[in-house]
């Protein structure tokens, strides 16, 4: 996956992500694609979540999946979640949960949904995502409606391992997260940080909007054979667009 939060020169924020899924789950040698990714592309839906008869927030989901990977609460915050792989990973949380040792721990995508359902501001959401015990590590990428409201929360099961703020970003006007801790090198066989950063730097801040960031996320290898869709969000305007993605032909498998 790749998540990006960028702000233009006037401080307007755009939050976007590519969802990549299906690695090592078979390979269809006839059409040169991952079969799980192929199936997932047919199951993508957008959801308006209604409460008290009004729109509470928006998300996209795979049909039949009740948790949330990406969501937008108008005038409050936007959220995406990228996989974080740790030795003490999700299986450890599941085992602890099964034995009742982590009874209060939240499943990742349910914590994201709970945050969108119950938190009204960027700061409330940030506090909740940083401190609620959970059952698996993850990167929460959180954006707001105002200038500099953007952060990456690298979560371990019981707390926040690393918090990276937009205001401290080494890139100045954007944050980019794939599946590695900020400030560490990505695995050389799976380095989507370098091409993503190079392409964002070519984009420049004055073009930081839906069009520009979609083009970055449509560039190899941030776009690869695992990519199922790109979602583009603006908290300020409540625009939420999901666009189907694939990478046919000679494209890197992940």
């Amino acid at each position: 996956c790749t998540s990006i939060i960028a702000q233009d020169k006037d401080g307007h924020l755009t939050h976007a992500r590519n969802l990549d899924f299906g690695l090592f789950m078979g390979w269809d040698a006839t059409i040169h694609d991952w079969p799980i990714s192929q199936k997932l592309r047919k199951m993508i839906i957008n959801v308006n979540w209604i409460k008290d008869g009004k729109l509470l927030f928006k998300s996209n989901n795979f049909a039949g999946y009740v948790g949330i990977y990406n969501g937008l609460k108008p005038n409050a915050f936007s959220l995406t979640a990228d996989d974080r792989f740790q030795l003490e990973g999700g299986y450890y949380g599941i085992i602890k949960w099964l034995f009742g040792l982590e009874a209060d721990g939240k499943w990742m995508s349910w914590l994201a949904r709970e945050t969108l359902e119950t938190k009204a501001t960027y700061l409330d959401a940030k506090e909740h995502l940083m401190n609620t015990p959970m059952l698996s590590p993850v990167y929460f990428i959180l954006g707001g409606a105002k200038k500099d409201e953007g952060c990456i929360i690298a979560r371990s099961l019981n707390g926040t391992a690393i918090l990276s703020e937009m205001s401290d970003s080494p890139h100045g006007w954007y944050l980019l997260e794939t599946n590695y801790d900020q400030g560490t090198e990505a695995l050389y066989l799976d380095d989507r940080d370098t091409p993503g950063i190079r392409c964002m730097d070519k984009l420049t801040q004055k073009n930081a909007g839906f069009e520009g960031i979609f083009n970055v996320l449509s560039s190899r290898t941030n776009l690869n054979k695992l990519t199922t869709y790109t979602v583009l969000m603006s908290v300020e305007t409540a625009r939420f667009e999901t666009i189907l993605q694939s990478c046919p032909g000679e494209c890197y498998p992940w």
Binding site: P35, N48, G64, D83, G90, K106, K202, F214, V216, S219
Partner: protein, 122 residues
């Protein structure tokens, strides 16, 4: 960073002065309402009914992948994840039960699908 060999090399399409963004493509993805004012068992009925074939196909691919290595995969998913389901927190539990009911897919398999992120991080 190690550059990939051609034709897999990283490539920023901005170098080609291309614009791939077509906002009309967002309408390829359908919108549904999930009404939190309804009981959890009612919220996903429309989505479940519309996508039962696709959900079954996806879980079928997972099972086909695992079965050659682990022939008891279907039974394992039905039994182990089926037994986990009653312990899940509300309102997710009732929502998952209703999706299983409306799609006709065993509860254990729908539960496995819904906690797949945690399994995948292994």
């Amino acid at each position: 960073h190690v550059e990939l060999p051609a034709p897999y090399k990283d490539h920023c399409i901005l170098d080609d002065k291309q614009n791939l963004y077509d906002p009309s493509k967002q309408f390829d993805i359908p919108w549904f309402d999930v009404n939190l004012d309804l009981p959890p068992s009612e919220r996903w009925k429309q989505v479940g009914a519309a996508y039962k074939t696709q959900i079954a196909d996806l879980i079928g691919v997972l099972i086909d992948l695992i079965t050659p290595i682990f022939p008891e995969a279907v039974k394992f998913a039905d039994d182990v994840f089926g037994e986990m389901a009653p312990k899940l927190a509300q309102p997710y539990r009732d929502e998952i039960y209703s999706i299983s009911e409306v799609t006709g897919i065993p509860l254990g398999q729908i539960t496995m699908y819904n906690i797949f992120y945690e399994i995948f991080t292994v």
